[in-house]
């Protein structure tokens, strides 16, 4: 018995994944080699993020949770780097960073190298610090909110915190004017609402993976988070901060790959209805 020959609709419905991934690769590489320059409109959320940081008064201390894992680095790092650039451009702002992910300290060092922190004239231990990975996720958030010195005595390199001037007078959530979180974990992004916003009313900016945005939006709508953004919006903050980087570059690629996605959805639907109307089983 011979197999029924494949129709054009069958072939369209069953495009080999090698071809699909090949097309995707082309759609990523071509706009990188020949930039199209698609506009990057600024969303309300990113503008609110930028304005919140701009409105920080001199002398403010900001807590940052550098809590993403290696897998989320390509998406979240550009946003984090641009935000650090904005914070470091402001005079007399102190930034205390911690990590709720054990890969955080390594990725933070990578981000600081990308930022080229020397150009801002900021000094480690005086203007910024990383107090290390603190295990326990929500327990860690609660503990740090209550007392940093009771939670950890050293920074991420193992040097006692008492040696750093930045930590003088900074111990609990009440000493921070703003909380900024970059995370790939739902437990982290929601945990900060529970342990910091609800308990101490610390204004909270949350940068998460695009796929996490829908679950975080209700908190923003309820006023518990000032702004929820995805790392995919990095191009917008880079434009506002006037430090174009990976985020702006990704705009063309993201647009072209999504056009490919839409085209493939259309092809799939044409194949489905074509097969149906030509008498074949769909």
């Amino acid at each position: 018995m011979t197999a029924k020959p494949k129709t054009i609709w069958d072939r369209l419905e069953d495009i080999p994944r090698e071809i699909l991934y090949g097309l995707l690769l082309v759609c990523i590489i071509v706009p990188m080699l020949f930039p199209i320059g698609f506009p990057v409109p600024i969303s309300v959320e990113v503008k609110r993020w930028y304005d919140t940081i701009e409105a920080l008064p001199a002398g403010s201390v900001v807590m940052v949770d550098f809590g993403y894992s290696g897998g989320g680095e390509p998406e979240l790092a550009p946003f984090a780097v641009a935000t650090y650039a904005q914070l470091f451009r402001k005079a007399d702002i102190k930034v205390v960073t911690m990590s709720t992910s054990n890969e955080g300290p390594l990725l933070w060092e990578k981000a600081m190298t990308e930022l080229n922190i020397a150009r801002f004239g900021k000094e480690y231990g005086k203007d910024y610090i990383h107090i290390g990975y603190i295990a326990g996720v929500e327990t860690a958030m609660a503990a740090v909110g209550k007392s940093i010195s009771a939670t950890t005595t050293t920074d991420y390199k193992g040097t006692p915190l008492s040696k750093y001037s930045i930590m003088q007078g900074v111990d609990s959530a009440e000493d921070f004017a703003l909380l900024i979180v970059y995370t790939t974990g739902g437990d982290q992004s929601e945990g900060w609402v529970r342990q910091w916003y609800t308990s101490y009313k610390t204004p909270y900016l949350s940068c998460v993976l695009a796929m996490m945005v829908p679950t975080m939006l209700p908190y923003q709508k309820a006023g518990q988070i000032v702004s929820v953004v995805s790392g995919a919006q990095a191009g917008q903050i880079e434009i506002l901060v006037k430090a174009p980087g990976r985020g702006v570059k990704s705009a063309d690629v993201i647009t072209v790959t999504h056009l490919l996605c839409i085209a493939l959805v259309v092809v799939g639907n044409i194949a489905y209805f074509g097969k149906k109307f030509s008498g074949g089983k769909s």
């Binding site: 890969e103 295990a135 342990q195 790959t257």
Partner: protein, 238 residues
């Protein structure tokens, strides 16, 4: 550039290509990269585990805070699960962990995830706004109420007859939410691929010899994708 950085970039580039090669076909390079990643991740977690014990347990204990001895005792009791007779003792530290976790979460969950969300939805305005914002808010309220109804009133009478319209609206609302979520997931994934290809093109390929190495790496990966019996060389042993 320092030699250590160059080696790191080369390794990161090779592993990126090997890991992404699975998108086309399974091959030994992918398997090697995958196993190396699992090993490295396990090693990294182990080191951090030991570091955590030293930083948050041993350091305060040796500084004279004897209360931390309780933490060590509880930690050691966890290993009782490997004892055939006294395995149940390990439930004690687990119940302490669960209890602390629940206690910490509960103190604010009711406020942050229940009351605040209800208040926010109840305060939503429909009139006196722009047409689009008013419509969006109305849609939000309708879908919230119908979805709550869908999950709470699950008995057949509440879901049948004319009342089935409520469930239908809830289902369409949830489908739209899932679609939004899926679209965001696709966006996330594309961003991640862009990040790695940007690294390959602008960090690795600008290094000396990387341009020469790229075709060699790709040829080897493609060759490794060919099933063993179809490879011209080496011939499989019978």
């Amino acid at each position: 550039m320092e030699l250590a950085s160059v080696v790191q970039i080369w390794l990161a580039a090779l592993f990126t290509i090997w890991i992404y090669s699975i998108a086309f076909r399974d091959n030994p390079f992918f398997k090697f990269a995958e196993h190396t990643f699992v090993g490295a991740a396990a090693g990294h977690s182990l080191v951090y585990g030991v570091d955590n014990i030293l930083r948050y347990g041993w350091a305060p204990l040796t500084a004279g805070n004897m209360l931390y001895a309780v933490v060590f005792v509880l930690g050691i009791l966890m290993y009782m699960r490997f004892h055939k007779t006294y395995f149940w003792v390990s439930r004690v530290p687990i119940s302490v962990i669960v209890g602390i976790g629940i206690g910490l979460t509960l103190r604010s969950t009711v406020t942050s995830e229940f009351i605040a969300q209800i208040v926010s939805t109840a305060q939503m305005k429909v009139l006196g706004l722009g047409a689009w914002e008013g419509f969006s808010n109305l849609l939000f309220i309708i879908i919230t109420l119908t979805t709550v109804y869908f999950f709470i009133f699950t008995f057949p009478k509440a879901q049948g007859g004319r009342l089935s319209l409520i469930s239908t609206i809830a289902r369409y609302g949830m489908m739209a939410a899932f679609g939004y979520s899926f679209a965001n997931t696709v966006l996330s994934r594309f961003n991640m691929i862009f990040g790695r290809i940007d690294f390959l093109m602008n960090t690795w390929l600008v290094l000396p010899y990387a341009m020469l190495a790229l075709p060699v790496v790709l040829i080897l990966v493609i060759y490794a994708m060919i099933p063993t019996e179809k490879r011209p060389w080496p011939k499989p042993k019978n």
